[in-house]
Each structure stands twice: as C-alpha cells, then as structure tokens.
Symmetry: C2
Amino acid sequence: MSEDNKEPEITYNEAGLVPAIIQDHEGGRVLMMGWMNSEALTRTRETGRVWFWSRSRQEFWRKGDTSGHRQYVRGIEYDCDADTLLIQVEQIGAACHTGSRSCFDNRTLEAVTDRDESNQ
Amino acid sequence: MSEDNKEPEITYNEAGLVPAIIQDHEGGRVLMMGWMNSEALTRTRETGRVWFWSRSRQEFWRKGDTSGHRQYVRGIEYDCDADTLLIQVEQIGAACHTGSRSCFDNRTLEAVTDRDESNQ
C-alpha cells in the first residue's frame, strides 16, 4: 500500500478498535462481527486474510488459524463516518465457533414485521 | 410480546448499547450500523420501525422521522454472544444521511484480494 493514497483515516473508538462486519461475498449472508485495531486492519489489508483483535484475550487472532475456517478478503468497505468496516470474504467452512455457518444462524428475536397504515 | 418467552438476554456494552447491523431484506446489501439501548430495541420490536440511540445527541431517534427514509423491520437476529444484532429491513429511499442507499457505498479500502498458495 502506498503511503500517499487518498484513503480516509479510520476512526477507532476509545479502546482503539473499530467494528468489522464480515459478509459472505457469495449470497451476502452476514457471518459475524469482530473488532480490529489499526494493526489488525493493516495485516488484513496487506495479507488478504482477516485478522481481529480479541478483546477478551487481548491478543491478535487470524481467523481460521485454530479452526481452519479461514476468511479470504474479497473487498473492504467503510461507512460514511469511517468508524465501521464491512468486509466481504470467501469463508472456508463455518464462521461461527459453534459450527454454524453464520454467528446469526437460528437466533431470532420476535418482532412486529407487519407494515400497515398505522405504522408509517 | 409475551413475558415468558425463552429469548436470551441481549448483552449491552459498558455504555448500555448494542450494535445493530441493518441489512436490506432484498438483495442483502448492508446499509448501515447503528446503536440501540434496551428501550430502542424494545420499541423496534414492538412497533416494526427501527429505533436507535444516538450517542452524539444522547437521544432516541426513529429512522426516517426527519428524512422520510424509514426502515420497516422484516426480521431480527442476534449473534452467538448475543452482543450484536442483525436486522433485515425494508428500506425506504436512502439509508445514509449523505443520500447514498448504503452508508458503505463508494467507500473502499485497498486490500490484497488474491488468494494464493502463500496465503493459506
């Protein structure tokens, strides 16, 4: 990566982290959300494999190193406030440590989903 | 919503907030990420319109009340740690205050995307 590109500064929170939404580049399923610090984002961009910062263990982790369930970067986007990342990946196997493809699989909250005239 | 359902407790961060990823229920584009407190989530579930908590203004806001760009709930999921929400919506108009459909539109970071043998 050149040092003189016009990319924005990413805004990190008070803990030095930015949330990274991980999305399957095929089909668009959201697989998980993780947290990156600046170094994890740099490693992700420069290697094409997704790195996170573990808040609980306070260490870097590269997705798949233990499980084999690697994430290969297909694209990285940031939002209008540059404080959230959206990363499209090729996901090998399950993204979730429970063995589910997505961390959101089979976990729903009941909600009103009827759009009606009283609901404008 | 009944009081005796078996839904999990959602885990809020130290500020009492949970991130909510908002996804277009048609096509799967991730539109934005916002933050909810417990009351915003309850309002969202009970009304079928998406409510957030504004960290900068320290107030509730219902998406679309100013812009007309309302979000109608089509489904709510939570992740394996119950600390992130994924909400499928019918999005009216632009989700982003800039006028873009998605807050992530036209904002990409350069990254390595070649999966090769040295990148396993």
